[in-house]
């Protein structure tokens, strides 16, 4: 069929057999008229099906194969729905009934037994393709007719209900509202309970029937129907007959009693004014005696009546209407329906306005969806063209974005990379068993890839997105990358995890820039030591975490440094500072914290064992020395962290006091903080 529409396209045949000779034998017999794709086993076949499902006209499948055999392949085809679009011909020497039966059960169309005979092979392939095409064409025709009929039905019902509405002086919106409300309440009800004998696929029909609820009003005299103000008892009695009259109208339609639409319409017409406590009319039914469809329409009717303007009343707000219904001001309803009303109350008003506008379209779409589910509607040629268009678009953008985009399928496990991504990683576009392959072992660290897959499986259809940074190995280079992926689920009643789509973005340069900036922000540019702010943060962290607090803080400045500057120039001054910084770096360990506070003031923070003094003395002695013409001497104050109560500013203050004490005592010395310094310190400055 492709041929007719598009001269150059040949039907594609996928041959799956582990023996190269067998594949090429078949290929030789068929290649004149068909384009041949080959796969060595079910895994490879699945990969081809994943990306070329709609291009393949028929598949020839061997049974005994390594990795993934013919039956396993069929199972995967069923699971992924491929079996619906691709006819499979089994090739095997096995004619054991058990084999043959199982193959047919799994959806195989035909059987070719070895040894291959050219004529048989060609004939079977042609027959299968033609049969399948015919079947598709027929199902399209049936689907079209069904659509037409369905639309006609719905239109007739809408016309009929509109006549009633018109006579009633209403806009016709009431019918649309009832349909929509009925739909919303039914969906909410099905979420809550399965105790009623209705399912999602019944909803469109019930909605159609709901439109008929007031047809009985056709027999009510106009002056009663449209009377402004209150009814007399007599008038009310007349009005009340409309429910029974409506039911009778439907009942009297000849030969149609068993139509589900008529039966539902009857229930709805007759009982949509019954109430759960038995105080409704016409029959005074109670509780679950009232059919659930009538209960639902009754609620819809009341809600819409309250929120609409009528000849005898103004419109109430949504909130007021819900409140009145819940308070029982319009009669008593099924408690479970009251729960439903509460559940959807927040969104009801908005959905009502949106859905009522597009109600016909949504329902047609619903019908189409239902038919698709039942397999009544196959993918049309037009859909395929659209799909192709989308694919071109997607490929183009993927190419431009310079991101590795991927599709991951959980069963059989495989990964499909975007063209650009595959080139970039120097890998084939299809990676089977990605966990075992370079993708899951080398590009990702093995455990990282496992983690990513685990995160994806553990998502839900409501929250499907996973985002995480990984250090990847791209062609031998370590690159920080961000993986953003979204899990994919099938649309069954309980959604099943199918796999994921996602992309990998290289963020290495950005990360590096950030780390660099962070480093620069934390360090003093002249000496390469930390600056005060960074040192303060690090020390505070340690003070907060370490219970022992066996640390000392050393604070010192260079004696007569100003002279060095004045005498030999600022460049020389900088050299002295660098020399001191180098000395500090040499005499401390990586775990110690050393910082330049600014000017000629430095800070050291380090742990000590039993005695702090020997450590201090060693550092002090190292610092005092000669740099060129300048004699380096320091005044140093020391405070122990044990006394600061974990507070950095207290500790700093103590060391500062001690340093001034050292200065006051004649410089060129170190001095430990003592409690009595606290009072005098401030004055000494």
């Amino acid at each position: 069929m492709n041929k007719k529409e598009n001269g150059q396209i040949r039907n594609k045949i996928l041959i799956v057999d582990d023996s190269e000779i067998n594949r090429s034998l078949l290929s030789d017999m068929l290649s004149g008229e068909y384009e041949i794709l080959e796969a060595e086993n079910g895994m490879e076949a699945s990969a081809i099906l994943q990306s070329h499902e709609h291009e393949i006209s028929v598949m020839l499948l061997d049974i005994v194969m390594p990795v993934m055999d013919g039956f396993e392949t069929l199972v995967a085809m069923n699971k992924n729905g491929w079996i619906k679009s691709i006819p499979v011909i089994m090739i095997s020497a096995e004619t054991v009934p058990a084999y043959v039966d199982r193959a047919y059960d799994l959806g195989v169309q035909d059987y070719i037994s070895r040894p291959f005979d050219e004529r048989t092979v060609r004939r079977r392939v042609i027959n299968t393709i033609m049969l399948f095409a015919k079947q598709k064409e027929l199902s399209h025709m049936v689907a079209d007719q069904m659509m037409e009929k369905e639309n006609g039905n719905q239109l007739m019902i809408e016309i009929l209900s509109n006549i009633v509405e018109f006579r009633n002086g209403e806009s016709g919106l009431h019918v649309l509202h009832i349909r929509t409300l009925t739909e919303l309440f039914l969906k909410a009800l099905l979420e809550k309970t399965d105790k009623y004998d209705i399912s999602r696929k019944d909803i469109p029909l019930i909605c159609n029937a709901s439109a008929l609820h007031d047809i009985g009003k056709i027999v009510i005299p106009e002056e009663v129907l449209n009377k402004p103000g209150r009814f007399t008892d007599e008038e009310f009695a007349i009005m009340r007959t409309h429910s029974m009259e409506g039911a009778r109208l439907l009942e009297d339609i000849p030969m149609r009693k068993n139509e589900p639409l008529i039966q539902l319409g009857y229930q709805i017409c007759r009982w949509h004014h019954e109430r759960y406590d038995g105080k409704g009319y016409p029959d005074g039914l109670k509780g679950e005696e009232i059919p659930i469809v009538a209960q639902v329409v009754a609620l819809a009717d009341v809600y819409d009546a309250l929120t609409s303007k009528r000849v005898y009343k103004d419109a109430y707000s949504h909130e007021k209407a819900v409140e009145m219904i819940l308070n029982g001001e319009c009669g008593i309803f099924n408690p479970i329906l009251m729960e439903c009303l509460k559940d959807i109350s927040d969104t009801l008003e908005k959905e009502l306005s949106v859905l009522s506008q597009g109600s016909s379209q949504t329902e047609i779409l619903g019908t189409v969806e239902m038919m698709m589910e039942k397999g009544e509607l196959e993918v049309s040629e037009r859909t395929l063209r659209l799909l192709e268009h989308e694919r071109t678009k997607y490929q183009f953008y993927a190419e431009l974005s310079h991101e590795i985009q991927f599709e991951y399928t959980a069963m059989p496990e495989m990964l499909i990379l975007s063209e650009w991504g595959a080139r970039y990683l120097d890998m084939p576009e299809t990676v089977l068993n990605p966990r075992e392959e370079a993708f899951g072992q080398k590009v990702f660290d093995g455990s990282d890839f496992e983690e990513l897959l685990r995160l994806l499986v553990n998502t839900t259809p409501e929250k499907p997105v996973v985002e995480k940074k990984y250090l990847l190995n791209i062609n031998g280079h370590e690159r920080w990358s961000r993986v953003i992926a979204r899990s994919m689920w099938d649309d069954g009643e309980t959604p099943e995890y199918m796999g994921a789509i996602g992309k990998i973005v290289d963020i290495h340069d950005n990360m590096e820039k950030m780390t660099n900036l962070e480093r620069m922000a934390a360090h003093d540019s002249l000496t390469g030591l930390l600056n005060h702010k960074a040192a303060k943060e690090k020390i505070s962290d340690i003070l907060n975490q370490d219970e022992q607090q066996k640390y000392i803080l050393l604070l010192f400045d260079l004696d007569k440094f100003k002279q060095a500057n004045d005498q030999y120039g600022h460049l020389f001054g900088d050299e002295v500072l660098k020399y001191v910084a180098e000395t500090i770096k040499k005499s401390t360990r990586a775990s110690d914290i050393a910082a330049r506070m600014g000017g000629d003031e430095f800070l050291l923070f380090m742990p000590y064992k039993e005695q702090a003094e020997p450590l201090v003395k060693r550092i002090f002695d190292l610092l005092c020395g000669q740099y060129k013409e300048f004699r380096v001497s320091v005044s140093m104050g020391i405070a122990c962290a044990e006394e600061c109560g974990g507070d950095y500013s207290v500790l700093f203050h103590m060391a500062d006091e001690a340093m001034y004490e050292a200065k006051r005592s004649g410089r060129g010395r170190y001095c430990f903080y003592k409690a009595e310094m606290a009072d005098t310190g401030g004055e000494a400055r």
């Binding site: 582990d18 023996s19 000779i21 067998n22 034998l25 030789d28 070895r114 040894p115």
Partner: protein
Amino acid sequence: MTVKECYDAMGADYEDVFARLRKDERIQKFLLKVMNDKSYDLLCSSLESGDMAEAFRAAHTLKGVCQNLSLTPLYKSAAVLSDRLKEQTEYGSDIEPMLDRVREDYERTISCIRELDGQ
């Protein structure tokens, strides 16, 4: 040597293969491929290493290839071994004579094909 003579020398069924494949060139082309087919080697090595599942698949493939090309003697001996490996997955002394038979047929078949190729 013609294709038919080659089949006669192998003790294989030329009429049958010609009826199905319908061209001598095609038959010859695929016969030559048999020389490069790995299933016989795989069969021997899997039996040696005790990988019985792989051995079954290899015997099965060899059988299928021979069947398609009507290499009747090798097809028959490969089928016997393939059936045995399918029914029982343990190694047994009964396998040896079967494998000997396959080896004998395989060598004869291959040497005939080489001769055909030699021209």
